[in-house]
Point group: C2
């Protein structure tokens, strides 16, 4: 019998060498998706080997399939906190998003062109060089890449001087014998700190053929960008981080190719959106100065490179583009997203908020664009919250606490709860205030008695009610984290409004991006003071803006140019320098806010519920 300890729960169990790790997980009442029922085919039960030896053999840090692997010693196993939910139903019109009307119109104009031409074979009277013949056939004075040159004579003669030329701007990067015009696909990627999403795109008709995702395998080197930057400074750390994200992409690419029966060789290019640190790590560029004052990234513009030069297994003609960045903490995920929803082309004053570990905020319209990034912390992603989790099956996303202090909960997927996701966390804060469990400073100050209310802790679900038979609680420390997160976002929005000389009611649209976004109820977010009090019909959900941005850029050269232009025109406000931000932040560490006049409707409700009824 070997002892298996699971992280992060620290739960332990003993199994023998004939049992799988999946069986240990199930026996421990821990949750892990296992769609194929232990056949080893779906790959969803991946866990990380942290200590010990297993059969079949694996290295420390490897992802292993829990259903296939057995212990050979005492083990420490990390169960990753989530597997992304892909709601296949929202893959409409070829796009995965919440509100298709938000996406800007664009013309199909791939970043790389593929053209079939039939050339006259050379004769004694017309024996110019092969490159010259191709240039003449294409009718323009193109340059030719050195790698392309190496095979050009052979390819020309494969199908008697009928060829397909692949061109980037004024450079020929590939020559193939015969008509290969139809083999013209691209990949778009959202390289997130936690998850990586990829799509396979048909460049002939703007269609998305498949989508796949996975954890960013860099997770083993740290949960957030700061930890990864620190890791990158170690010996070979930068290379290790680059290798892990490349490995993640390779897995997704293989899945996409398998699903669509398309050959790797038919992929002409890849477009990647990511935050500034992810973009640096992807290209293997030292991110050191992103973290050090005054926070300077090495590069911002899109730099097309050969995909193989970062270790992706492609031929040299396949290029990789990154989406232009704005600053150390406003990356290509944001520039891509705001161009995708056309903010810079619209007269409507728009507030774009991407809620993740950093809350990135953009305010503007066709006249101006301001951006800021707040280190809100991972509270809205379930991080730093005792029973927090990401928006997945079993996550509490809605909660009502009645006057007796009894909760009524709803979970994603309608199953027993196993944690609380960002949307649930927002609701809990409002409900605990309204039911008189906490005060407006977020401190426990119960006005009712209920056995669920303990010393600085509230029991949302008893152990017997949950999926994993573990009590779900919210602590005062959790509430502190949520307060700080919501205060940071609100203060960021306030600073941008003040900088622009605007008031909250000037905002004509609020666009919420990020996976979290789709589960938030705007009314509740306003009640806790996360967003200003803006009419609810102005709120829109955009889904994964980063992935939509990368997809649009892959389809259209004009979008690429617009992103570059937009990235250059954004004025980034460094909140860490701003005394205004500090003042606003402190004023926001209150529910909803110390300045009552900023939240008249919410105060009305608080007066009614807390001050009147409970008194």
């Amino acid at each position: 019998m070997f002892k298996i300890t699971f992280e992060p729960s620290k739960r332990g169990i003993e199994i023998d060498e004939k049992e799988t790790i999946l069986s240990a997980i199930t026996k421990s009442s821990l949750f892990i998706p296992a769609g194929c029922g232990g056949l080893g085919t779906c790959g969803k039960c991946r866990v990380i080997l942290e200590e010990g030896s297993v059969f079949p053999e694996a290295k420390k840090g490897d992802f292993i399939l829990a259903c296939q692997v057995k212990p050979k010693s005492e083990l420490k196993i990390r169960i990753p906190e989530f597997s992304p939910i892909l709601d296949k139903n929202v893959l409409k019109n070829g796009f995965l998003f919440q509100d298709p009307t938000l996406i800007q119109k664009f013309n199909l104009s791939p970043l790389i062109e593929k053209r079939y031409i039939e050339l006259a074979p050379p004769t004694k009277d017309d024996n110019i060089d092969d490159v010259g013949r191709i240039k003449k056939g294409l009718g323009l004075d193109y340059e030719i890449s050195f790698d392309c040159l190496k095979t050009i004579s052979k390819e020309l003669r494969k199908d008697n001087f009928k060829i397909t030329a692949t061109m980037r701007d004024k450079e020929i990067i590939r020559i193939e014998g015969g008509d290969r015009e139809k083999s013209h696909y691209a990949l778009s990627f959202d390289i997130g700190t936690t998850s990586v999403y990829g799509r396979l795109l048909d460049l002939r008709n703007k269609s998305v053929l498949a989508e796949a995702s996975d954890y960013n395998k860099q997770i083993i080197y740290g949960d957030d960008v700061i930890t990864r930057i620190i890791y990158s400074q170690k010996n070979d750390g930068l290379y290790a981080l680059q290798s892990k994200v490349v490995e993640t992409m390779e897995g997704i690419i293989n899945e996409l190719l398998y699903e669509t029966k398309i050959e790797k060789d038919e992929i002409s290019y890849i477009v990647c959106a990511g935050n500034t640190t992810m973009t640096h790590l992807l290209l293997g560029i030292d991110p050191k100065y992103i973290r050090e004052e005054p926070y300077v990234p090495a590069f911002a513009s899109s730099i097309p490179i050969e995909a193989e030069s970062i270790g992706l297994k492609f031929s040299s003609s396949a290029l990789l583009y990154t989406i232009p960045l704005v600053s150390s903490y406003i990356g290509g995920d944001i520039t891509g997203g705001i161009v995708a929803c056309g903010i810079a082309k619209s007269p409507l004053l728009t507030l774009y908020v991407d809620l993740g570990t950093n809350g990135e905020i953009v305010l503007g319209n066709s006249d101006f664009l301001l951006s800021a990034s707040t280190s809100a912390g991972p509270a809205f992603e379930g991080g730093g919250i005792k029973c927090g989790m990401r928006a997945q099956r079993g996550a509490i996303d809605e909660i009502v606490i009645d006057r007796m202090g009894e909760p009524e909960i709803t979970t994603i997927g309608g199953i027993k709860p196993r944690g609380i996701c960002g949307a649930g966390i927002i609701e809990i804060l409002a409900q605990m205030l309204f039911s008189g469990i906490i005060n407006q400073k977020g401190k426990f100050s119960p006005k009712i008695e209920n056995k669920r209310i303990r010393e600085k802790e509230y029991v949302i679900a008893n152990a017997f009610e949950t999926l994993n038979n573990e009590e779900l609680v919210i602590t005062e420390a959790d509430i502190d984290n949520i307060m700080r997160a919501k205060a940071a976002i609100f203060a960021g929005i306030s600073v941008l409004l003040k900088t622009a000389g605007m008031k909250p009611n000037n905002i004509e649209r609020v666009i919420i991006a990020g996976n979290l976004g789709s589960h938030i109820i705007p009314e509740k977010a306003i009640q806790i003071g996360l967003f200003p009090e803006i009419p609810l019909d102005r709120f829109h959900f955009f889904g994964n803006g980063s992935l939509i941005g990368a997809t649009l850029m892959a389809f259209s050269k004009e979008i690429m140019e617009e992103i570059e232009k937009t990235a250059n025109s954004i004025t980034n406000i460094e909140l860490s320098n701003s005394s205004d931000f500090m003042n606003e932040y402190i004023a926001s560490l209150f529910i909803p806010h110390t300045e009552r006049e900023k939240f008249p409707k919410t105060w009305e409700k608080i007066k009614e519920l807390v001050f009147t009824s409970l008194r």
Copy 2:
């Protein structure tokens, strides 16, 4: 196993009795020409046995063929000095050439620019990305190379944001911390089939700092371009050929750096001129179709590449440019040469002849340019001639044969003779005709008696008179080769004149390029019918036009553009298709020519010497 020690290098190696001395030389990375590939027929791999015994037997001091001889004991072998002659005296005004007035004027404008700038270090209020800061400092929207990006942040911070930027067109290819503007050098190369010449150039003042040369180490795979193309079709043949020329260049580069005390890192780029096959092999591009009808090269335009991509040990920022080609047999050595002497800018009708293994001919001026390549064979380089050699120390370059059949010779360097170079070969043909040893068809038909005149053979120097104690003779087979070579050149010139609708006396300038050129006496060349009878004051010697072309292109972007333009404007005449050429060639297999009226002065002399005096 027997130890073989080589003189003068003192290098040693062990081989067994089944291996040849040639194999020991190759294994020791020493150089010796071996044109026939080890068959024992060319006789070029002669070495001197200094100590020990060999099979087949030889005496101490004997010349032995390294490719045929095996050791029977420990050996000491001397590899005779056989290094190309560089007449250091003609290195005037920074240029090595015969007639500096021929070189066209040009402005200094290096292909790659190096600029020192002092940037303001970033602050909280000015924290744009590092690349953006550099672009702003340079004042233009440059792209940046991926390799450069990898070190940019570090270099910027080496000397507090004072940097030197290296740029090619609109791309930043290198950033160095501090002021490195002075470290800006280039290399120019003539990559010949037999020899490679290199120069180290100071890009600040158009000066040539050093010159060095070596045999092209590809020689072990064959003497001429056709043999090398055939070799390139073997497994790894192309790579082997590329490696050998790269190895040759590395040796020359090390010599140039050693002589000038300049660091490799200070070399910004390399410009290489070579014939079409050499240019293909240098870049590792399959030359297969150069040799097959209709003789199509893979490329013609200059394609700048990273020097390291062909195996040269440089950092990725050092580029390598090849000079544009015209056709399969008119290469960058010719386009470089004709631009260097400004033919396309002058109204003077010029005949440019580069005498090498192929005789390349260009006819034209600012109105038009025609080119042709004749497979003259290597006779004028000493190849295919029993006692032929290149224009080096000990080569007979002048000869007079008196009426008694006795020769009087002059050698390069004034030492004992060891062979006959191209200039000597031309003289011998004229002198043997004038002295009545051969007839106008080039056949032995002696009208005098001398023990030097044997059956189809004439002894130029007896064994006791020579450096290597071997008799120097000229045979009827040698004369056949010379006749064919001179007929091919003359027929080529005739076809170009006819195509242009011109006569020989329209030619206002004859420019002779090639190493051979400087030793030729035009009067003698006319007498054997190599050149048309043109007034002697119209003949000019240009030296190594290929190397001069590469040097000029390295100094000047405008020269590069002019070469590209000129290469495109040349009309190449394929002589192998031309019945005119065949007719002219047959008519030229006579001394000087079957058509007496084409050589009135020469016929006068022949009449006087041969028909009158000797009769």
